[in-house]
Symmetry: C2
Subunit: 257 residues, 2 copies
Amino acid sequence: MVVYAGQGDPRRSIELLWRGSVTENRPGPKPGLSVDAIVDAGIAVADEQGMAFSMRAVGERLGRTAMALYTYVPGKNELVDLMYDRTMAELPTSYPLDDGWRPAVTRWAHDMWECYGRHPWVLQVSQARPVLGPHEFAVTESLATILASTGLPGRQLRGIVGAINYFVRGAAQTIAEARAAGGATGEADEEWWYARSAVLLEIEPDLEKKFPVLHRLEQDREPVDPSLPYLENDALENFRNGLRVLLDGIEAAVAKP
Amino acid sequence: MVVYAGQGDPRRSIELLWRGSVTENRPGPKPGLSVDAIVDAGIAVADEQGMAFSMRAVGERLGRTAMALYTYVPGKNELVDLMYDRTMAELPTSYPLDDGWRPAVTRWAHDMWECYGRHPWVLQVSQARPVLGPHEFAVTESLATILASTGLPGRQLRGIVGAINYFVRGAAQTIAEARAAGGATGEADEEWWYARSAVLLEIEPDLEKKFPVLHRLEQDREPVDPSLPYLENDALENFRNGLRVLLDGIEAAVAKP
DNA sequence: GTTGATTCTTTATGCCGTAAAGTAAGAGGT
DNA sequence: ACCTCTTACTTTACGGCATAAAGAATCAAC
């Protein structure tokens, strides 16, 4: 499933995101659930089953039917928006600039990376139409604040904020979805990878001759953290090295005119 | 829907990707379709309807039922893999290095960006478990070849290749999915955006005070290409500026030890 | 006590991917 | 010529999904 933010009534979605649900003294049975409880349950289910979780599963976890959720939330898309924004609330809203912007951005990126690791389904929520929730804003504001301290003009900052976001997201996807997919089929990613590349080499024996540069790139690896499995190690190494290059680019931009 | 590559029999998938289907002289009725035709139809349907296209729709476009496709292709996941790899075949396999690596990478990135723009659904195919098709390899090889000319060591190159990939993908998502979602609901992204931000400002009037840096960033814009709609302009500007910073970072890495 | 709003369940609709079974076509052997 | 076995494709059916519609139960306000 792919979730485009807020296909329903925009006002309803945004009110839920920014104001939560209002519960005055009303007639009828006391509500046994709450938007908050549903969002929490949704996150728990999605953490286990990925973005393909079902409304039934969320209802079940709360001891209700799927339809009960629709009393609190307009639909699955809106629920995912709320889950997304709640997840962003896990992140710090500001970073100390005592040692300058570079370590601050690095910490921001690592926090983000870890948050994606805890909630891989977040990576499937479309970036194109931002959820526009308060915590999503806060996370971007915190990155923008760090980078604004470089004194770069807005035009350049937008590109940089985007680049860092895309990079962290992409790097996190590489590892997080691999873990998720492994869980879905019951295979660890290691096994999956080895099985695949074995078949590939069998069917296309001169693969390495056809793509010599890629082949060479696959060489000279060193474990960054030997306790991690192979693919995670790889992803972590690439994440750190890629981020370093990106930050060097920002430094160059700061130094220039 | 999110597609994890090749959940079925890996051998069958990889054979389809690398060898195509074999059609000797066999008993039974002559095949009226082919894997190629199905992949083309799939791409056409996905270009129109996005990743949530249905096997029924692909079959219909070919004048068959959905089940007819299963004679040629093991399932929807495998079809998507084939569609993905076919799409990658649209891209050049090598770039001239006459003017050095920088313009070559820039051209690679722009070609990729445009390809994503033509086929936004490609952005939903999981990167985590690469499709492992020949054209996907070729595309990465072409980028890696350009960058290998910098003489940087493999460890660093992997991070850089990743970073560029993530960046282009992320930047393309911002614009391409906005278009797709706009088409799905019948709204142009412009309208969607304006409607949303109006409601947002109404519900949270001091938004700009709460996120002052983001607010400031939204200022000073200039149209890059006035013929493009607002959001596309924005995305294009951020793409170019972000890429420039990334390339500056690579340049710094090349200059250093 | 009655009314009407509200929570939650039940049932039903229309999608989806695809399994299973059936029908028709055609090549090879006799 | 006929038979047989494989293949292409359709039909039907199943279980899953989000969610619309209708009904049951609950409680505040009058």
